[in-house]
Amino acid sequence: MMGYNFAYLDEQTKRMIRRALLKAVAIPGHQVPFGSREMPLPYGWGTGGIQVTASVLGQQDVLKVIDQGADDTTNAVSIRRFFARTAGVRTTTHTAAATVIQTRHRIPETKLRDDQIIVYQVPQPEPLFRLEPSRVETRRMHGLADYGLMHVKLYEDIARYGQISISYDYPVMVNGRYLMSPSPIPSFDNPKMDRMPALQLFGAGREKRIYAIPPWTEVRSLDFEDHPFRPINAPHPCGLCGATDSYLDEVVTDDHGGRLFVCSDTDHCAERRAAGHVGTDGVKEAAE
C-alpha cells in the first residue's frame, strides 16, 4: 500500500515485537511487556494479534484469519483485508493451506502442523485479573508461581456448583511453570494447545503484552484429581455436516425453541460437506 511499509508496521517496530516474541518463546507462558503501537483498528478488536502477525509475516506467507472459528465473520473479514491491503500476501480460508493463522476465540479443528504459526488475539492476558485487579500484584504472583488464588476459585466453584464453572478462557499451566490465559477460546479447545506442533503466539495490544507457547510444550488445563478437567460442547452432531467431534455454534431458527447446531469452524464444515458428509439439516453439496 502506498505510503506504508510492508504489513503496515515499520521495520524497527517489527524488530521490537520480534524481540518480545523471542523472549516469550524462551519463557513459555510468561507475559512479556512490549511497546504496543496504536493501530488503525480499535483496541480490543485484535490489535495485539495484528501486530504479532505483521511482525512474523513474510511475502511468501499464506494468511488465514478467523473469528469465532469462521472466516467470514465481519471482524475476520476486516483483518484479512487489512493484510491483503498492507502486505499483499495471499490469503486463504483453508486451514491446511495457511502458514499463519490469526484467530479470535477458536483453534481450528484441523490439526496444525509444525510449519504453521497460530496467532491468538488476546483481550486480557492476565489469567488472575478477576481475582486480583492490580497488575503490580499479579506480576508478583507470577514471579513466585503463587497461584493459590486460582485453585481456591476453582475449589469454590466445585463447592458451589459441584463442578468448575469456567467454560471459556479456562486457565492453563504452561510447561509446569506459568499460569496462562488461553484467550477466550472455549474450554473445548484447550486440549489442542497441549504439545501442539505449531508455534502459538499471543498478542494483547491494549494491555501491551505478548506471550507464547513453543511447539510441543505441555499445556495443562487446571483441575483436581477427583474433578478432572471436562471440556464443554453441545451434545449434538453438526446439523450441516454431521460432525460429532467439532465445536458447535447454536443457531436460533425460529421463535418457539427451534435450534440448529452447526460447526463453528466454517472451513472444517465446508470441507466435510465437500467430502460428502451430510447432517440432518444439511443438503448434498452438489445441490447447493
Binding site: 511497546g35 480499535p42 473479514v77 483481550p123 466445585i158 472455549p186 447454536e250
Partner: protein, 381 residues
C-alpha cells in the same frame, strides 16, 4: 428447509461504509463543511481531538473532526492512528510557558500580580442563554483592543518559589519516558503519569478531579494560575549545537497550589499539581492538575485511599482510545464463548434438577464432593 450458513460479511462491510459516507455528508443540498470552517469555528472540538489524539495539527484535527462527524473520541482515534506512523526526527526542548504569548491568564490566589489578570476569550461569566441572534447568523462586531503593551507575566509558581513557599522540582537530565513507545510499568514516574494525563480522557479526568474535591483524596487545591496562549517549540539538532524554532503551539497550563508538606529539616512548603493540555482546554488542564497532585499522595507521605490517588487505577483507565475500543469490542461476535456458557448453564441446571428429583435428602452440604487433592497444586514449584 435446509439451512445455509450466513455469509457475506465482506459486502455488508462495504455497503455499511458507503452508507456512513452518505450520512456523514448529510443533505447534499446544503454546502459541504470546509476544514478551515471547522478549524476556525469549532476550535474547541479540534483542540480536544488534538489533545487526546496527542497530535498538534489544527488542519488534521479539523479533518479528523469532520471525518468523525464530530465524535471527538473517534476523531482522537483517527489522529492517534495517523501519528503512530510518523517518523520521529528530533525531541523538542521543554517548552517555556513563562515566555508564553498569553491570551488568558488568571490567578485565584493573588488579587493582582505582575502582568495582571487577563480574562481572554472565556465562557466564564457568560450567561448561558441560547443566543438566537447567533442562530440567525450575521457579522460579529470586533472586540475592543488595547494599545497597552503586554507586561511580562512571571508564573505564580515562580513567584511563590522565589520566597521558598513552593516546592522545587529537581531538574533532571534523564530522558523522559514515552508511553507510545514503552509500555506502562510500575512504579510509574511523574513524567509518564503526566503524559498519560495529557493524553487522557477529559471526562474521566474531570470526574476523578471532582471526586478529590468531594473527599475522595482531597489536597486543598487553589488555582494558583491558569494560562493559555502560544508557546514556541524548539529543537536542538546535535550537528548545530544550538536551538532553532520549528513552530508554535497553543497550550493551556494549570498550576494548582496545594497544601503543604515539610519535615524536620525542610520547612513546610506548598505542593504542586500540574496540568498542561494542547489547545484551549481549561477544564481538562485543571482536572489534570488535581489528579496529578492526588497521584503524588504516596510520594508526599499521604494515605492512599481514594481512586484518584491510585496510580495504577488512574493510568490504566484514563486513555479513552483504549477504553472505547475495549468497551465497544463487546459488540463483536462472542457466540463461541456464549455457546459454551449456555452449555455450561444447561449442565448446571440439569444437575440441580436431578438432585431435586432424587428422593433422598437433597442439596445438603455433603451433596457436593469436596476435592481432596489439588493435582496441579502438587506439581507447582
Amino acid at each position: 428447509m435446509a439451512y445455509v450458513a450466513v455469509k457475506g460479511g465482506e459486502r455488508a462491510i462495504d455497503n455499511a461504509h458507503a452508507w456512513l459516507a452518505e450520512e456523514r455528508r448529510g443533505d447534499p443540498a446544503l454546502p459541504d463543511l470546509t476544514l478551515p470552517q471547522l478549524r476556525e469555528q469549532l476550535g474547541r472540538a479540534v483542540d480536544r481531538a488534538m489533545a487526546e489524539g496527542s497530535l498538534y495539527d489544527p488542519d488534521l484535527g479539523a479533518l479528523a473532526v469532520k471525518q468523525a462527524q464530530g465524535d471527538l473520541i473517534e476523531a482522537a482515534f483517527l489522529l492517534r492512528a495517523y501519528r503512530t506512523t510518523l517518523p520521529r526526527f528530533a525531541h523538542s526542548r521543554p517548552i517555556d510557558t513563562a515566555a508564553m504569548q498569553v491570551e488568558r491568564r488568571i490567578s485565584a490566589v493573588f488579587k493582582d500580580l505582575p502582568g495582571g489578570q487577563v480574562l481572554g476569550p472565556t465562557y466564564d461569566y457568560t450567561h448561558r442563554l441560547l443566543d438566537f441572534a447567533l442562530a440567525a447568523g450575521g457579522p460579529v462586531p470586533p472586540a475592543p483592543r488595547t494599545d497597552t503593551p503586554v507586561e511580562a507575566m512571571p508564573r505564580v509558581s515562580d513567584i511563590l518559589r522565589a520566597e521558598g513557599m513552593m516546592e522545587t522540582d529537581a531538574p533532571s537530565e534523564a530522558e523522559p519516558g514515552d508511553l507510545t513507545r514503552e509500555p506502562l510499568s510500575f512504579p510509574a514516574e511523574r513524567d509518564v503519569r503526566l503524559q498519560a494525563l495529557a493524553r487522557g480522557d477529559e471526562g474521566f479526568l474531570l470526574g476523578l478531579g471532582y471526586s478529590t474535591q468531594r473527599g475522595y483524596g482531597g489536597s486543598h487545591p487553589f488555582a494558583g494560575e491558569i494560562r493559555m496562549g502560544e508557546v514556541t517549540v524548539e529543537i536542538e539538532p546535535p550537528e548545530l549545537g544550538f536551538a532553532i524554532e520549528i513552530g508554535d503551539l497553543v497550550v493551556t497550563e494549570c498550576q494548582m497550589v496545594n497544601q503543604f508538606k515539610g519535615s524536620k529539616t525542610v520547612p513546610p512548603q506548598f505542593t504542586r499539581g500540574y496540568g498542561l493540555v494542547f489547545g484551549f482546554s481549561e477544564r481538562k488542564a485543571m482536572a489534570m492538575a488535581l489528579v496529578d497532585r492526588a497521584m503524588r499522595a504516596e510520594e508526599l507521605g499521604e494515605d492512599v485511599t481514594a481512586p484518584a490517588q491510585n496510580v495504577e487505577f488512574v493510568l490504566y483507565h484514563s486513555d479513552n482510545i483504549e477504553a472505547t475500543g475495549f468497551v465497544e469490542h463487546l459488540k463483536l461476535p462472542h457466540y463461541v464463548d456464549f455457546q459454551s456458557e449456555l452449555q455450561n448453564l444447561r449442565r448446571l441446571r440439569a444437575e440441580v434438577e436431578r438432585a431435586r428429583d432424587r428422593p433422598a435428602p437433597a442439596l445438603v452440604d455433603g451433596d457436593t464432593d469436596t476435592p481432596t487433592t489439588a493435582s496441579q497444586a502438587g506439581s507447582l514449584p
